[in-house]
């Protein structure tokens, strides 16, 4: 959907670039997590396996093929998003400052149903979560590279605490992303009028 220029500009709360990279990222993360669960099952680190029905790839080779294909999408799309966020001022404007105290305060307000949600403006809890999940994805990518290439990228693997520790880091980065997704999807579906703008870019009820 094309953005109308000029007068309607203020109503666009999510620019096209942000929307596009968001949904490409959503697809890439979906593939990475579900194929990653299948890969995990081939040699579980902990005493459990992911239900095979909630994994992608059918078997280890299929899961690896998905994982190593989608990683390019995740990384390239992620770099484009970060570049845009820095150059456009989106991060500076919308993510900062970050305050744990205010984030906690917002969570308390939200739990009482008293948190105002202005379209296009991130509250303190959102800021913390969004910056947090971006960091978790970056950690997931670097720990993943450390596992993938422990010889060619051995400096990175050493930085991650060695091969076995890098696997743990990769696992917990995934866990952090999934924990974010549980909250993020629940709020996106549960809070009125926030999901549609992520497709259209526009606030449903202009103020």
């Amino acid at each position: 959907m094309a953005d109308a220029a000029g007068a309607e500009k203020p109503q666009t709360i999510h620019p096209l670039f942000i929307r596009a990279t968001h949904w490409v990222n959503a697809f890439a993360i979906f593939v990475m997590v579900l194929s990653g669960w299948r890969i995990y099952n081939a040699s579980p680190i902990f005493g459990f396996e992911f239900p095979p029905g909630f994994t992608l790839g059918g078997w280890l080779a299929g899961a690896l093929a998905w994982h190593f294909a989608a990683m390019w999408l995740l990384a390239l799309n992620g770099m484009a998003y970060l570049a845009y966020g820095i150059v456009s001022g989106h991060f500076r404007r919308d993510f900062f400052p970050i305050s744990f105290k205010r984030a906690l305060n917002d969570v308390v307000l939200a739990s009482r149903g008293r948190l105002d949600h202005a379209p296009g403006r991130y509250n303190a809890a959102q800021r913390l979560l969004y910056v947090g999940v971006i960091l978790a994805v970056i950690v997931a990518i670097f720990s993943g590279l450390a596992i993938w290439k422990p010889v060619q990228l051995q400096g990175l693997t050493a930085l991650m605490g060695g091969y076995d520790t890098a696997r743990l880091v990769h696992f917990f980065a995934m866990a952090a992303i999934v924990a974010f997704l549980v909250v993020h999807i629940a709020l996106a579906v549960g809070v009125k009028g926030v999901l549609a703008p992520m497709f259209t870019g526009r606030a449903e009820a202009p103020r």
């Binding site: 890969i39 040699s43 992608l56 790839g57 060619q152």
Partner: protein, 243 residues
């Protein structure tokens, strides 16, 4: 790493029999992913994933540094017992008679004369303690001793500009590697390792690649420019599988 945990991987290896990435394994995740696309056309997804795997072969070859050495460890770091891993159970390992053993050579090699074990042992030997990383995710540190593969390839007059070095094994396993990785200083034609079940009398030890690219019980080596594939590679695992 506990051996009990490692033994738990074996049944899974035996289960890995399907060739198609998704045909029989279209899980819930894949279904929801593909809904809206042409769900019936599994092959299009297979083809895309295969194309990406070939792309990843090229990227890994570009990333491969022929002078970068795999980290080495001390005797104290050795994983004991070293996990046994193959596409079959441990009781089915082939028994090769060392007396009558002859390593066969074919393809783009000047001197194709077969080699006896004593002749291989007469060549300069070196040893390494390195980490073997399995495609399944686990790893183990082992010790291997034998002939530098580069030295052997030069000695037999192999065409070092050829693309592939391929292996056929007594356990019906087969695999192949790229020439630059074959010539890496740590790539070893290993004669000595902790137990015969890990590939007696001859196996490849290549710490710059995943475990399944380290064929055991080698009976024949051939050098070629035609893509030779491999047992797991032909089932869908990435061919280059560099470490």
């Amino acid at each position: 790493m506990k051996p009990s945990r490692l033994s738990a991987f074996r049944p899974k290896v035996a289960r890995l029999e399907r060739r198609s990435f998704i045909k029989q394994g279209l899980s819930l995740g894949a279904l929801s992913l593909l809904s809206g696309c042409t769900l019936k056309d599994d092959d299009a997804v297979d083809r895309l994933l295969s194309a990406m795997s070939r792309f990843n072969d090229k990227m890994q070859a570009a990333l491969f540094d022929p002078t970068k050495l795999a980290p080495t460890y001390s005797e104290a770091d050795l994983t004991t017992p070293f996990p046994f891993n193959a596409y079959y159970e441990e009781k089915d390992v082939p028994l090769v008679d060392g007396e009558s053993y002859r390593l066969q050579l074919s393809g783009l090699i000047a001197d194709k004369r077969p080699w006896r074990l004593e002749e291989l042992r007469a060549l300069p030997q070196s040893s390494q303690i390195t980490r073997l990383v399995c495609v399944e995710g686990w790893s183990a540190i082992g010790k291997w001793r034998g002939v530098a593969f580069r030295h052997f390839l030069e000695r037999i007059g192999a065409d070092l500009t050829a693309r592939y070095v391929s292996f056929r094994c007594a356990d019906k396993y087969y695999s192949s590697i790229d020439m630059p990785s074959a010539l890496h200083p740590q790539t070893l034609l290993a004669l000595d390792f902790s137990d015969a079940k890990y590939g007696y009398p001859l196996r490849l030890r290549i710490p710059t690649k995943l475990g399944f690219k380290n064929p055991k019980f080698i009976g024949e080596i051939f050098v070629t420019n035609d893509y030779p594939g491999g047992y797991w590679e032909d089932k869908g695992y990435n061919w280059f599988s560099g470490s």
